[in-house]
């Protein structure tokens, strides 16, 4: 069965930062992205590495979507077979904040199985103290 393609652009969870400069917003966004990558590795959610390399930040100052791997054939470390991986389109630019996302079309399903990104948001919020809090959409 074909893998369902998921464009999950819904603003699921936000880190709210008091009196944040664009620079601080960027810094926190990249911290979330980096922590999410660590979580993906620690969770054992890597096969081709495509999802890990599909993480991006889009903000007023940064746009790393173009650095993500393109759709194509990648080798599975689990089976040794070549598998097709698809990258979804970039979301709309952030409006005064930053978007952290993963462009692999199956990234949402991996998040449902083991939340690497939500956990990263929680971890970064905990590291920053009271000036940063999590707020559902």
């Amino acid at each position: 069965m074909a893998q369902p393609k998921v464009n999950w652009y819904e603003n699921d969870v936000r880190l709210v930062v008091d009196d944040a400069s664009d620079e601080l917003v960027d810094k926190l966004a990249f911290q979330v992205l980096g922590q999410a990558g660590i979580n993906i590795q620690q969770n054992g959610q890597i096969d081709t590495g495509f999802m890990l390399n599909s993480g991006y930040v889009i903000s007023e100052r940064s746009d790393t979507f173009g650095d993500t791997d393109p759709s194509g054939s990648y080798e599975s470390s689990k089976t040794g077979q070549t598998v097709q991986r698809e990258r979804v389109d970039a979301p709309r630019p952030a409006d005064g904040g930053a978007v952290v996302g993963f462009a692999a079309d199956y990234a949402a399903h991996q998040e449902m199985k083991n939340a690497y990104l939500y956990t990263a948001v929680e971890q970064v919020a905990a590291q920053q103290g009271a000036s940063v809090r999590i707020k559902p959409r």
Partner: protein, 134 residues
Amino acid sequence: MIDAAVVIQTYLLANAPLVTLVGTRIYPERNVPPPGYKPSDGGCVVFRARGGQALAQGSVLAPSVQFKCYGMDEPTANAVYRALYDAIERNDGLSGGGNGVKSCTIEALGQTLSEPDTGWLFVLTFASFWLGAD
């Protein structure tokens, strides 16, 4: 410390409109329905915490919970989702003491998706709960 999954399951099983659609098929700590389930059995709900916090010196647990609502087709999956939404957002069960649930609210509106392995349709949503810790 309470078993948050059991508290939430009990709270939802006390909601008559939801139970009308899914019976007792409300499965905690799962990402997919248990082995043996198939959509022709009727709707079901699976849920698991994706994170959360202990608040008020640990007297309140505040998990963020992922819900997946299944049905035979998109309309029935969405009917289960709407019943779940009402059970959570209207706090219908709280008037009877809440079975340990102090409050709850939907974090993200539902989106219909399909399982990669089975093709089963489900609606994904998230909710915050505030539970008495003892």
